[in-house]
Amino acid sequence: MSPARNGVVEERPPVVEQRSSPGDHAASWRRNLSFGRIGAVYVLIGMVILFSIWIPETFPTAATVRQILNNYAITALAALALIVPLSAGVFDISTPYVMSLSGVITAYCIVHGVPLPVAVTIAIAASLAIGFVNACVVVGLRIESLIATLATGSLIQALITLVTSDIPINDARLTEGFSHIAQSGIGNVTLPVFYVLIVGLAIWCLQEYTTVGRRLYATGFNKEATRLAGVRTERLRFFTLLTSATLAGFTGVVLAASLGSGTPTAGTPYLLPAFAAVFLGATQFKEGRFNAPGTVLAVLIIGTGVTGLGLANAPSWAGSMLTGVILIAALALTGVQRRTTRTGRAKA
């Protein structure tokens, strides 16, 4: 039977008022552009205006835009790698270590004469293998993801030391063809920026336009109910850890190319900024859901702030200060706006 065919209750009026009718485009746009949705965008705009007034010669230029994009692309990639597991409620804090490992492996292979495409493939395959181990530990042994990946992170660190003895791998060959992966570009915008676009878009599509993406969110919100709905949540969680490791592996290759060396600790500085970006991003665009555009926006905001301060020759503490203030401001704006909207609606 199709419930659509029987009009059981047509005579009753709707009990709940329709808060926003679908046709009301203006209202829906207004909602989409509200602080509550995109508080961070307003913070970004505010910052751009401020810096443009403060340092009018150097800040509002195309060069600044390029500088920000080029220099924060890898942070953005590192953050994007975290989105898929996080949206399924899985913390993967081994990604910075995977980044280091994959960079070191690529460099090692290239220095030992392995052709570039093969070297990159090996590195990403190794990352995938790490992802598999992560998944087995988290899903198979049912260990809480945060601490499980902390543990595997430690294992990866051991592996890195084993391979490199903690000595960065440097070689002339690393500054040649290999470095083009990160350092060449189109019109002074380097390739990693395009990788961010591609990866971000792919994640966005996955989350918005595929059933897997939706099931991932559902798993993250309520694993039990999602399993009751017939979704294979454990399989999904397994998959997310493969994704994050693979993406982290790729990011590691790009990072190594941009450094022109295989550095054993290259990934670790990205841990906290990446998590900050993802969490800040989750408050933007799709309130409460980890998402790619929000994450990229968050990275841009921090990048703009720090770069602007650099151009203004601000003292070195100003950068950390601004990062903290931006985070709090963007989150508070988003939160406050959301609360007042609710209250307003309640009164209406």
């Binding site: 220099n71 903690d166 003292p315």
Partner: protein, 348 residues
């Protein structure tokens, strides 16, 4: 310097011969004397124009912060303007700072400990713009955008030899020693080679090993790792530190492990390790001449600007112990009238 109070200089049978101990003693006596002349004596010979702009890229740690202050003294002598670009030492901020230098096009650049592969394109661009760049503490040779390098590998080996001499003399050629290395800092490797090779040369029967600890253990479990090593090797009573930072907290750890008789030989003192030396917790340290180092780089930029030829020079070495330590707090020039001597070289 006087005859070392810490050596008994007695006759020895096993280990080193009296001859080699005497050789070491000679080397040591020289090194314990505070240098009085800057390495570069040759005047520039042409008038150095005032009003130039020099950029300095700071890596955000203690050393870099102090270096900026020293460079400021040099530029003040020359009547130049100094722009300090603060970074936190991570690749994105470093790269961003170099980008900015390229955009601002100062008259010269000084930076340190940044691998060329990260900033290859910026260095080539600087070369194209004919902006001289001087660097310290890097493994690369001058060329392709790098005008001058101070504190190269050869200088490190020389320092290691002096430290070895102290060990051989103090132990009267009968001791065992360990060199604690941080492989992450590649510039420290030659120092260890110098120390270990020289120890073995002067004292063929002495044991000299290398203990590698990761950079991440600094300020955390580095003392514990060293204590473990020493407990497993009870005969080792001399610990050479690749940098004095490793030794932070080490005396306390040694004391509580009942290893109070172990002697520490350091390098690149920190304020903490000076303090240790004053209170007898550390035996000696090989001073890093920050003034000499920074002034040499400014000197190189100045010579490049007036098309004077660069001069090769080796930095001074000075070994400091409880008896010849100065009362100065913080950073002081190794050559007392360093600034005046350079002013003379520069014709100011």
């Amino acid at each position: 310097g006087s005859d070392s109070s810490s050596t008994d200089g007695g006759s020895s049978t096993a280990g080193a011969s009296d001859a080699t101990i005497a050789e070491a003693q000679t080397l040591l006596d020289k090194a314990r004397t505070r240098p009085t002349q800057i390495p570069t004596q040759e005047p520039v010979g042409k008038p150095i124009p005032a009003g130039k702009t020099l950029s300095f890229i700071s890596c955000g740690n203690e050393d870099c912060t102090n270096q900026a202050k020293v460079v400021k003294q040099a530029t003040d002598i020359l009547g130049w303007k100094l722009i300090v670009h603060n970074t936190d030492g991570t690749p994105p901020t470093l790269k961003s700072a170099f980008d900015q230098v390229v955009r601002e096009q100062p008259d010269g650049l000084i930076y340190n400990a940044t691998d060329r592969s990260l900033i290859n394109s910026e260095l080539l661009e600087l070369e194209r713009l004919r902006i001289p760049a001087a660097a310290c503490c890097i493994l690369q040779k001058p060329g392709r955008g790098i005008t001058f390098v101070s504190e190269g590998p050869g200088d490190e080996i020389a320092k290691g030899k002096v430290m070895a001499a102290w060990f051989v003399v103090d132990s009267a050629g009968k001791g065992s020693t360990v060199y604690v290395d941080i492989p992450d800092f590649k510039i420290l490797a030659p120092l260890g080679d110098g120390y270990i090779d020289e120890s073995k040369r002067l004292c063929p029967d002495c044991s000299a090993e290398r203990l590698e600890i990761p950079f991440t253990s600094l300020g955390k479990d580095a003392p514990n790792r060293i204590v473990s090593y020493l407990r497993a090797h009870p005969d080792v009573k001399y610990v050479a530190l690749a940098i004095d930072q490793i030794g932070t907290g080490l005396p306390a750890a040694l004391k509580s492990a009942g290893l109070g008789d172990v002697k520490l030989i350091g390098e690149s003192p920190t304020a903490t390790s000076y303090q240790y030396i004053r209170s007898g917790l550390q035996s000696v340290t090989a001073v890093y001449d920050m003034y000499g180092d920074m002034f040499a780089q400014v000197d190189a930029v100045a010579r490049a600007l007036v098309d004077a030829p660069q001069v090769e020079s080796s930095p001074n070495v000075w070994l400091v112990d409880k008896d010849n330590i100065l009362d100065d707090e913080g950073v002081f020039p190794m050559v007392a009238d360093n600034n005046e001597q350079y002013a003379k070289v520069w014709g100011k």
